[in-house]
Symmetry: C2
Subunit: 257 residues, 2 copies
């Protein structure tokens, strides 16, 4: 199983603290050593860093840890290969353009024969079940709407398509679209929303502590989503099986009805 991490905020925030713990799961505190990637939404575009080296020892990961990129929406993934060889084309997050926007997708789980796209609009570059599922999802979205929908309009359809995909296996995923972050759980996903009064947090994967009250303002709101809680002294909320949540500005905006 891979490891997912997402961050969604109301002001551009760096992910240095969370990433410090998360990247260790790729070969150090976890066995997920088949590549990793991270995508940052910055104002009007996504910047994606990929590496097919283990994140615990990756030079690209070292760069990301040392160079605090500020972003309002982040998706990171550490891969434990199930389908598809270890290569750049099979490294998450995946990206595609639709309606002049980039859509970013990372998946944890294993899908057996997920549905394939009917048309030629979105085709996998690599050979993973994850990218095939992403292409199918985008194909559904592009066929359902003639122009870019709102998050409110998209949500119930996305929930239904996620259910269809989940019939093929395990489907924990993060889907980023501008400042919006969708998170779907089959088996394992947790989230936390941080806002004032901020407290001191301690990483699960490293003996590192941060006092968020020293690095935030009273209005900051940050949501963090992860396969397993990244800190061991805060209250994380587990997703339920089949649950889809949407985050905007560090806040939960849509939940399952």
């Amino acid at each position: 199983m891979c490891q997912l991490m997402g961050m969604n905020c109301n002001v551009p925030t760096d992910i240095v603290f969370s990433f410090e713990g998360f990247h260790r799961r790729g070969g150090l505190t976890g066995e997920h050593a088949d590549g990793w990637g991270i995508a940052f939404f910055e104002e009007d575009g996504w910047r994606v860093f990929l590496d097919n080296q283990p994140s615990a020892t990756s030079q690209v990961a070292r760069f990301v840890r040392e160079y605090p990129i500020k972003s309002r929406n982040v998706i990171a993934h550490i891969r434990k290969a199930t389908q598809g060889k270890v290569s750049l084309a099979n490294t998450h997050p995946f990206r595609r353009e639709l309606w002049g926007k980039e859509w970013i997708f990372a998946h944890n789980g294993n899908l057996i024969n997920p549905p394939v796209c009917r048309g030629l609009r979105f085709q996998p570059i690599g050979s993973s079940d994850s990218e095939q599922a992403f292409c199918w999802l985008l194909d559904q979205i592009s066929r359902q709407f003639s122009a870019e929908p709102s998050a409110e309009e998209l949500f119930p359809h996305l929930k239904q398509w996620a259910g269809q995909l989940a019939a093929s296996g395990t489907l924990n995923f993060l889907l980023g679209w501008n400042n919006i972050l969708f998170a779907h759980c089959s088996t394992q996903l947790w989230y936390i929303t941080r806002q004032a009064p901020f407290t001191v947090a301690h990483l699960s994967d490293a003996d590192l502590t941060v006092d968020f009250s020293e690095v935030t303002t009273l209005n900051d709101r940050v949501a963090v989503i992860a396969t397993q809680p990244l800190t061991d002294n805060e209250m994380w909320t587990p997703f339920g099986p089949g649950e889809l949540l949407a985050f905007l500005n560090g806040t939960l905006i849509r939940v399952n009805e």
Copy 2:
């Protein structure tokens, strides 16, 4: 005017030497300080690094200089904004998926009202003339061929479409597709192909020398394409106006008829 650089090789080669000179043109030896980007084709996928900071001082550029990524096909671009603000979405190279392959595009020049896509298949994310031209090109390619063509089949059509686009202004571009690099010149583009016997090269933009015979084997072939020659003691060949060339394995495979 922006600065373009491409490299095409028969074995994975790092671009450290050429990039050492090239990146200085973004704010140091050149005035092109509105962001930069570089794309590496590695086995089965492209890895793209973008930054909207000047390349001469960019932390991402420092990383690329210090971490020698080996690739058989590279496209780099330093931006001097003409249309579209300085932002990530307007930073070259641009990328899109077509037939399960990624296509990478970087442009030097200024196009006044380039043609727009008729359909919705490829839409610009940013507001540059360059990305609009790239989307139009891919739209033409996707309409001309029902499945992925060969470079031989694509070449004459690409030449014709480049001519149509060039009617809107200046169109120097690099287009990458797997291990193939297309290069089109309106006004300014040079190339060099290096092979045994390798010699000593000296950068134009920095007092740096490399003896290629020490870092290559007898069978290596490397083509480098740039807006202006990157070295001052080698024989670079200028493109002619309207000329399109295609490189594969460090060798010129198609020229204008």
